[in-house]
Symmetry: C2
Subunit: 126 residues, 2 copies
DNA sequence: CCTTACCTTTACGTTAACGTAAAGCTATAG
DNA sequence: CTATAGCTTTACGTTAACGTAAAGGTAAGG
């Protein structure tokens, strides 16, 4: 089965159909139509997954569209490709910054937890 | 020198003074005052750094406030502490999800770059 | 004394990312 | 045949996170 309805995708990724249509309005998705009804291919499904992954990472929908478009070069000219490579570099450095942020946050959380447990212990004595 | 003006912090972290005041409106910062003027301590500066780190990770300001408040238990009761530990667990699993997302995205970007460079080569032949 | 450079509060405006309601088509089950 | 379930478009509403004036206090420099 290589196709999905909008509500199937909505259920699978735990978003509303409104959200999926919104992404289409912004040009991030372009599913086929059977009559008036949207029909999603596995490729559409993958695009949706990428969009939501981007969201979890704090990317704007515009950012996500740019990234997703990077995955399909081939019809571009040389200048565009060079711009794409630059964009990829930029994204990579941003992601590395995030990795650094996350490791620091995790460290902080560990410390906070230790402090919490300590507080619980001495609190239990009262 | 253990104090900062609002514009010093704004410059250091590359945000506007409006942004910093906004964080105060939402209860994320509470600097001292000299007369009417805000005076920021190193601790305030650290809180601001944490807020902005959270922002880079896609956290809402409310999320950030919760996390930051985790760093200072001590006056809480047992129930609050237990809730804090739960919140820490939740944050940790969210961050681990992000780590996974990022590693996948980085992988995808690498592949996209390879594809780009390939396209550039064959394009150069024309 | 007055300009320049800060600081302040108050308050309306803006953008992104949807939510929500209204109104209607379509098909299948009872 | 009609009622229920799922699809559609259109369009106004909402929330978060600030932006952007407007209007004014304060202190140092020429």
């Amino acid at each position: 089965m290589a196709e999905y309805s909008i509500s199937q995708l909505a259920k699978e990724f735990d978003v509303t159909t409104r959200t999926i249509r919104h992404y289409e309005d912004l040009g991030l998705l372009a599913p086929a139509r059977r009559g008036q009804t949207r029909v999603y291919s596995p490729a559409d499904r993958t695009r949706l997954r990428l969009i939501l992954r981007g969201k979890r990472l704090g990317l704007s929908l515009d950012d996500s569209r740019e990234i997703i478009d990077m995955y399909e070069p081939g019809k571009s000219n040389v200048d565009q490709l060079k711009k794409l490579i630059d964009a990829i570099q930029a994204q990579r450095s941003k992601l590395n910054q995030q990795l650094d942020d996350i490791s620091k946050l995790l460290k902080d959380l560990n410390q906070a937890e230790v402090d919490c447990i300590e507080a619980l212990k001495s609190n239990g004595k009262n």
